[in-house]
Symmetry: C2
Subunit: 242 residues, 2 copies
């Protein structure tokens, strides 16, 4: 874990730039973390790497930072989306946190035929992705898409984006991913809900030319475990862990 | 997720066997899950696969099941230990749950130089491992060892057991695991604490002939994420996902 406090900001960054803080940022930095004028933290805007910034004004509900110098290069993840069916709140939060840590470029909650939970607050999940990047030294924050029905998502599926489709019904079978010559095309990882996919969904995915069914071993995994395992498999085979 | 209720029992299993339930099992089955005489659940003892069992007596604080027939073969994990440094309670619970799901054969909490949390209740962690097996259709429950200092564990390290040692300081370097000819020797996966290993620990591990340093990609991962990612890497390369 990075020892310096890290804060994601919307404001574009550059040396000498002045950064106004909003009330919640000021509360966090000065109230919770006890920082004050002269202290240095790291800020990142999701596009320009990490920058040291000095506190020049510390108020109860506002504050100002001055950007010093870049201390960390921008590191974007590969072009990998994570599609998952929301589950119980704590485990959904967990999936979003893990997707941000593991280097997903976009997080897409999808409603499947057997999805139990339909209440998904996009802003809450986005805040979890921001926090994961702050805590883990990330410079990129994956956007969280609005929740959508899996059928509608597949109707509009981009022809060039392949899908690693993880289905517990495959236990022990499925294709093996391997890196071919040439660039890795855009990909997505799709994790099913805890009840599995419906027969209609399985049929639909089987007919999708971009779909690659992949097994996550002989045991049944919870959806949150499956998300981390699937992202690991993809990153080590096709992504930036290779 | 299996649709039938699954219960881990200490009692050895066999067709026709009578199974007495303790108060907490009776409360769970009859109070919480509303089961009654004649209902069928699945039981497993960690050694004999999964068995259907019928409720023959349902009381408030006690009950009796009768074992019917085996419905699931015993599935033991490979001989893989997970060693990890305990962190905050919820994330420690999570690591134990995930280790049970991912097929670790033994779970060993170890105290490292930079471990923050020292209060580890073995019985609580063991209950999490049992619950994970119950929920995920497992027939094996990994034992949770008593917490021990990493140095003492390494002093008594079995010569034939290799260690996949995941260190965030390796980011992007480390050896690549590959399956050689012959049987896979006993292994362990070792996950460091959130503050990383100390220099003395790194030195010690570097000098351990059984240690294989492995990188978990270019991003810093939380310890719970690292545990799932490392178990995935091991299982897909050397374990029973291959």
């Amino acid at each position: 874990m990075p020892s310096k406090i890290r804060l994601h900001v919307e404001h574009a960054l550059g040396a000498g730039q002045t950064l106004p803080l909003d009330a919640s940022q000021a509360h966090y930095l000065f109230g919770v973390m006890r920082k004050g004028a002269g202290d240095v933290i790291e800020v990142f805007d999701g596009r320009s790497g990490g920058w040291d910034a000095e506190v020049v004004e510390a108020g109860k509900k506002r504050g100002v930072l001055r950007v010093l110098e870049q201390v960390r290069p921008q590191q974007d993840p590969p072009d990998l989306w994570l599609l998952f069916a929301p589950i119980k709140r704590a485990r959904t939060d967990f999936i979003v946190e893990k997707a941000a840590e593991m280097g997903a470029a976009r997080i897409c909650p999808v409603l499947t035929d057997f999805t139990n939970s339909e209440r998904v607050r996009r802003d809450r999940l986005q805040a979890h992705a921001v926090e994961a990047a702050e805590q883990c030294g990330g410079t990129f924050v994956p956007p969280v898409a609005e929740v959508a029905k899996l059928g509608a998502v597949l109707d509009a599926w981009p022809p060039e984006r392949r899908v690693m489709f993880c289905d517990e019904a495959l236990a022990g079978r499925g294709t093996v991913l391997s890196r071919g010559p040439g660039p890795v095309a855009p990909w997505a990882v799709l994790i099913g809900p805890e009840g599995g996919f419906s027969d209609a969904e399985r049929q639909r995915l089987a007919n999708l030319p971009q779909a690659h069914p992949v097994s996550l071993g002989p045991r049944i995994l919870r959806a949150d475990t499956a998300a981390v395992a699937a992202l690991t498999l993809w990153q080590t085979t096709l992504g930036d862990w290779a």
